[in-house]
């Protein structure tokens, strides 16, 4: 009897564990089926690489949205990665304990703030700053609702995640390893750069991937500051229209337009595949880094 229960428990937990994995597959399949209506009449290459978005004329080119997503995310990470890694290094290696202990709950709090709050803050502060200060400084005219504003807001939203995970990674590196480097006459910075960062490389990469995943999918805050103009952006000061914003703004609104919902489903599918692609890419890099150093 007890043995049967043991088997049941194992099978049960196994099933529960596989479920989320299956879910990913189901979502992909579901989205694919739903977007077949548009895939059947339009060639995929035109859907993905055309920048003509005129739903009323039946033109559903997703390129503006795909490039908007990529622009905003890359901007965000270029801003967020160095800052958050340096902050994590400071907190883990240099800061006295009380600062570290005080910073942790603040960071976690930031990670938990609803994204609308970041959005409002972005509209009130970041957008005027970009439009009124940065753009004139660069000799560009911009409303402020732009890729850059989206990138800044998104960067600030991903800081806490990356800092938090990176801190945990650094905490797992034994103090004796740092001592080993220091006792050879290395300075603290040399030790950090050549030993701590190297030892933690995988973890930092994992942290970045988490940040990336959040950044790609983040909808609300970005939607509020990025301008939402369906054109391929040419500079950081241009407005953009990322995929999540497209879906959130239009789903359930313009359903009378033929094939509109199928186009949105395709947009979701593309977004999902982009996120999956970057996850797989990161994992691949991780494995290679692991093999090289250890």
């Amino acid at each position: 009897m007890r043995l049967i229960r043991d088997v049941l428990a194992r099978r049960g937990m196994g099933a529960v564990t596989t479920l989320p994995g299956l879910l990913v597959l189901l979502v992909v399949v579901g989205l694919f089926l739903k977007s077949r209506a548009i895939l059947a009449v339009e060639p995929l290459s035109r859907l993905l690489f055309s920048s003509a978005w005129h739903p009323l004329k039946g033109e559903f080119g997703l390129l503006p949205f795909i490039s908007g997503t990529v622009w905003v995310t890359v901007t965000a990470l270029v801003l967020a990665l160095p800052v958050s890694i340096l902050a994590a290094i400071y907190l883990s290696e240099y800061a006295p304990r009380w600062i570290r202990e005080a910073a942790k709950p603040v960071i976690d709090l930031l990670a938990g703030l609803p994204s609308v709050v970041y959005g409002v803050w972005g509209v009130l502060i970041v957008v005027p700053f970009v439009g009124g200060v940065l753009a004139p400084a660069c000799g560009v005219v911009s409303s402020g609702y732009s890729i850059l504003a989206g990138g800044i807001v998104l960067a600030i939203m991903t800081f806490p995640t990356i800092i938090h995970v990176t801190l945990e990674v650094f905490a797992t590196i034994p103090g004796a390893l740092r001592d080993a480097s220091l006792s050879l006459g290395a300075t603290k910075w040399e030790t950090t750069r050549r030993v701590v960062l190297r030892k933690g490389a995988q973890g930092i990469l994992a942290a970045s991937v988490l940040g990336f995943s959040r950044a790609f999918g983040e909808t609300m805050a970005v939607l509020m500051v990025v301008g939402n103009v369906p054109a391929v952006p040419r500079s950081l000061f241009d407005p953009g229209y990322p995929l999540p914003a497209l879906i959130a703004n239009n789903y359930g609104e313009m359903m009378s337009v033929p094939r509109y919902d199928a186009a949105l489903m395709l947009a979701s599918l593309v977004l999902m595949l982009i996120v999956l692609f970057f996850n797989v890419l990161a994992r691949w890099i991780l494995v290679r880094v692991e093999r090289r150093t250890r």
């Binding site: 006295p96 304990r97 034994p174 103090g175 004796a176 390893l177 740092r178 001592d179 080993a180 480097s181 220091l182 006792s183 050879l184 006459g185 290395a186 300075t187 040399e190 050549r194 030993v195 190297r198 030892k199 090289r292 150093t293 250890r294």
Partner: protein, 253 residues
């Protein structure tokens, strides 16, 4: 003047917060001999060792009073450059700590930091000190592999080679064989005995038999206090303090 006592500890007290870990310790370490510091766990041995190359700096809330003179220079003086002090000493820790890089890079790490650029000279040094540490023949064909692929015993000898490669005057060992199997331990002990021809060696251990095998000079530390010190043979043969006697006979441990 200090040729014979490269390290001289003068009335050293160390506090972790309110806890006093070392109490007024004074000890002269003779050149080119193995000085072994014995004592039960938690008596401050490791703290004493780490005070010698200022690794205590990295811990928080540590206060140091007194002096440690290295070749006559107070290492705790405010103007002393800590990296220069540490370059004069190689450290072997309890568990070998290999750096996350290849075997070759581990040994080249220190010399590179101190400005050695020439590839040829680097390669020469790496080979030389790997030979001194008795590891060369085992790793000569796999220098580019990650150091973590070595066995623990090999890793400890790699750490020894790495420490020697910065060309220090002093070797510090913090229970350097405690993580090793008997054979590797013996190997490391033999290296230390060879090295005392050229280096001053300070080893902390709680293994009495190890102290008997390798010590020239012996210091007994008990509850943060330096109870007794002297030539190893004398202390082992006739301990003067009852606490030393009790420790040597195994009554306290």
């Amino acid at each position: 003047m200090n040729g014979e006592t490269p390290i001289s500890i003068r009335r050293l007290s160390v506090y972790y917060g309110d806890l006093q870990v070392l109490k007024d310790v004074s000890l002269d370490i003779p050149a080119r001999k193995i000085t072994v510091i014995i004592g039960p766990s938690g008596c401050g041995k490791t703290t004493l060792l780490k005070s010698l190359n200022r690794l205590l700096d990295t811990a928080e809330g540590v206060r140091v009073r007194g002096q440690v003179l290295l070749d006559g220079e107070d290492i705790y003086a405010p103007r002393t450059e800590v990296t220069r002090i540490r370059k004069k000493m190689g450290l072997l820790s309890q568990k070998p700590q290999v750096l996350p890089m290849s075997i070759y890079e581990n040994v080249a790490y220190g010399p590179r930091l101190h400005g050695l650029k020439s590839k040829k000279e680097l390669a020469r040094r790496v080979e030389h000190y790997l030979r001194v540490a008795g590891l060369w023949d085992e790793v000569r064909d796999r220098l580019r592999e990650p150091a973590s692929t070595l066995s623990v015993g090999q890793q400890q000898r790699l750490c020894l080679a790495r420490g020697l490669a910065v060309e220090p005057e002093i070797i510090l060992g913090d229970e350097p064989t405690s993580a090793l199997d008997p054979q590797s331990s013996q190997n490391v002990e033999r290296r230390l005995l060879e090295l005392k021809r050229d280096y001053t060696v300070v080893v902390v251990t709680h293994i009495l038999r190890q102290a008997r095998r390798i010590a020239d000079h012996l210091a007994f530390l008990y509850l943060g206090e330096l109870v007794e010190q002297g030539p190893a043979a004398e202390v082992f043969a006739g301990p003067r303090d009852p606490r030393t006697r009790a420790y040597l006979t195994g009554e306290i441990s």
